[in-house]
Each structure stands twice: as structure tokens, then as C-alpha cells.
Symmetry: C2
Subunit: 286 residues, 2 copies
Amino acid sequence: MRHFGEIESVDVGTEFASRAELAASGIHRPTQAGISGSSTEGADSIVVSGGYEDDEDYGDYLIYGGQAGFDPNTKQQNEDAELSRGNLALVVSYNKGLPVRVTRGLGSTRQHTYRYDGLYLVERWWVDRGKSGFRIYRFALRKIDDKPISTPAGELPLPTSNEEPDKVESYTTRIIRDTLVSETVKEIHQHFCQTCSTRIERPGGAYAQAAYIRPLGRPHNGPDTVDNILCLCPNCHVLFDGWAFAIEDDGSLIGALNGSLFEKKDHTVNREYLRYHRRLYKAANN
Amino acid sequence: MRHFGEIESVDVGTEFASRAELAASGIHRPTQAGISGSSTEGADSIVVSGGYEDDEDYGDYLIYGGQAGFDPNTKQQNEDAELSRGNLALVVSYNKGLPVRVTRGLGSTRQHTYRYDGLYLVERWWVDRGKSGFRIYRFALRKIDDKPISTPAGELPLPTSNEEPDKVESYTTRIIRDTLVSETVKEIHQHFCQTCSTRIERPGGAYAQAAYIRPLGRPHNGPDTVDNILCLCPNCHVLFDGWAFAIEDDGSLIGALNGSLFEKKDHTVNREYLRYHRRLYKAANN
């Protein structure tokens, strides 16, 4: 059975001289593939080699380019990626909320050493065009253990983005940000779900979640404003973030849900953000 | 407007000589009450004084006794606590997922100094009988920032429980534990909710959550076994954990949901745990 989570005898920060050593430790069993996993169980581990043009590495937050066909000579992607094998395994990890071990390749593209950097969760996945023009799967992973990556200065792979790594938000920052703008939206809708009109009532008051339409954070960079937020019940939130439905400009729902968006005059949803989400929805369901 | 989250100029670990100094810093405005909050906005801050018989303090995890009437002479609780004022404010923080600032009183019961220990989330609340025999509200809070409490050895208030503080689980431990037993239960039910029969389908597969019937962790100490787990949709999970419904021994639902529990022959739910949850449900809805 595939093992998810920590490997008992291997600390975060442990370095390995080769993929063979890394495999022998149990951290990442395959000696070639970047993703260790299956389409039924999920992915238990990835290796981020730093050589891929579609990866973005911010340390505790990582955008990983998934699995695709590469030309062995030019090292360039030469076909569209599919929702199968490693990519499907990572989507299953997202669906199940499974932790993924992350190992980084350090050093030049030719001569790597490897460092185990701890456990991450797949926060989101989506389909995009890579720099090559071919279809790729992208996975945003966030570190969930509290063991810092102990990096000798300058050895962390450089972010492939030009933005500052220190802008990546902490878990706490995100929780607090959520409370300010999103509570306003929930109050306007009195905690009724804007897509299925469910209202979750518990002792002490009603409950709803704030769903960002154009996702926050890299690389989507949606704004934290009321016109980018929906008041949803937890079920519709899971469906909306997981590309099971989207919303047309006229408010009608497409995909898993029927009906149309409930709107209030003091909370208008920005159609630009609906289009952004719809484009990702369509790419994921292609 | 009430401010939730960090106070910009006050670091975790800052000490204050008095409640007046603590109030002036903005960390905890009331100079007497242990809970700062309102029944509409939620609670933004609590002070844990260490003198209360129903508190249990494990550092990053805290069971807080809520607000109750005390006899000023004997310092003993002398009436049943109610879901109002400070207690209701903490339940609202739970419902909204708001962060709560936690300040600890250090030193003897008579002469306190105060240390701001960072942001916590209310993970759960329930109603219990205190050591006095009167009704109390209890709140389990877990630290969510990544700023360690820098404690000179021996100065942390001692746990009032006899169990070892180091048994308190980390966030990561909990995530990994969840993946092993709970995936089995979800597979048995093919991700159909056992109470409302919803099945959340997304690209890449179905989605469900594992709900523990008798809660894990202190002080409930439910076991991590399949007979203590339900496969629920996110909506029913929120209702079940928030005391909006419970399940009778014959499987019929009481409270917010109608119908009865769907069971499979290879997954029998332990009636003892249903009774435990039902007792908490009834106390919360009293």
C-alpha cells in the first residue's frame, strides 16, 4: 500500500546524492518520474527539479507543472498533457486532501542533489497553456508541516517568476483577510447559498463560506473585493473550486448545478471574474 | 468596529504588567471580562487566567471554560452558564471561523502579569457540567499562527489535566491520520453522504468528508476507527459538528435533518459513539 505522509526515519532537510538514494529512503520510489502515485490512491510524492519552465517555486508555496510529454533532445514539451497517470494522481490527492512529500533538486540541471522538504497539500489545480504552447496541468501546493526548510543561503532554486517571494501569504494572513470582506458578503445574503439557496443553521447562528471567483494568490491574483466573492454553502464551494460548475454572464449555471445565481442589488458580481473562472472550468473539463 | 487578528505593533510573547496595560495595547480591551466580543460580531480576544478549575491548557491547544456566574467570595461557580454574551460571542467566532487573540495570565492567582500568546481558532464547542456541578460552555482552541510561544522554562501555566501535554497532535499529524482510516469509510459508501445521500462529483473523482462521531482529541478522546466515522458531505459535516442534528440508535435523525442514517453491512457505526454525540447535541440545544 502506498504510504502518505512522513517517512519515519527521514527528517525534513535530509539531502540525497542521487535519485537512487532518494528512492531507497522511501521518500520518492520512482527513479525517473517526477510524480509518485496512482490514479486511484493519489500522489504521495513529487520531485521538483527546478529545470522546468512552467514551475514556480516560492519555498512554502509551489506551482508545479505536472506531467507532460517532452522531446528527449530539445527538452521541450511536444504534446498536450492529459488528465491521466501523474496528473490524475495529483488531482486525486487534491480531492482526498492527501499530503504530498516534496523533494527539490538542487544544483545545475545536469548534476542534481536532492533535498526532502516536507509535506504539502494540493490547494488547487487547473489547466493552462505552458510556455511551449501545449496544454499543461498546474498544481498549487502549500507546505503544511511546521518544519522550516533549512536552506543554506542562495541554494534554494530561484523563483521563475519575477515577483517577490515574500509576498506569498501565510495561513494566518489568509484567515484574517477572509474575515473582513467576506463577512460583508455573507451578511448581505443572510448566509443563503447564492447557487443552491441552502442555508446552514446551527445553534449560535447561520453558516456560509466565502468563495473567491477569480482565485486569490499566484498566479491568478484575483482581488479580495466583494465583487469577486460568492456566498456559498460548503457543498457548492467544493464544487465551484473543483471545476464542477461555472456561471455564465447572465447568471445561469453550467455543469453540475442547474438554475441561476441569486444576486442582490447591493452585491453585484464582476462578470470579468466569472469569465476568468469559466475559462478555467472549461479547460479543466475539456 | 471590532478588530480581529493581530494588533500591528504587538508581537507574540509581549508581556504586560496589568490588565490596564493589556487593554491599552488593544490586545484585550475589557479590563475585567475574560472574553472580549459581542454576540453579533464574535469574540476577538480572551484572557486565560489559569485560576479556573474547568480550563485545560496545553500551550498550542486550550480548553477554555467560557463565561459563568461566580460567587465573589468563594470564587466558585454558582449558576448555570448560558449561551449569551461571551459564550455566544465565542460560538459566533466558531461559526464564522474568526481568529481569537489569546493572552495568558502568568504567576499566582492574586498577582498576575499577562502575556499575549497569538492567534487561535475555536475548533469546537460543547456544553458540559463543570467541577462545580453547574452547566458550562467549553471551547477547544488551537493556535494557528506559526509564532512559537517563547516560554521561560516553568512559567507556562500547568495543565490541569494529568495527561502529557506532548500528546496534543499537530495539524500535520491530524491530516495524515485522517487519510488512512477515513478513506476506507468513504470508499465503502462510494462518497455518498450517509445522512442526505448527496454525492459531490468533480473532475478527477467524487468527494466526501470523514466526520468523527465521538470527537477526537481532548477531552472527548474518540477513537480513530471506522466505527467512529461517518462519510458525510461538507454541508452535513458542518451541521453534525455544530450540534444541528444527531442520530438515534435506530438510525433516525433528530434536529435539522429528516430521514435516517444510511448504513452498509461492512461499516457498522458504534451506538456508544452515537450516544456520546447525542448527549452533546442535546446539551448544546438545551
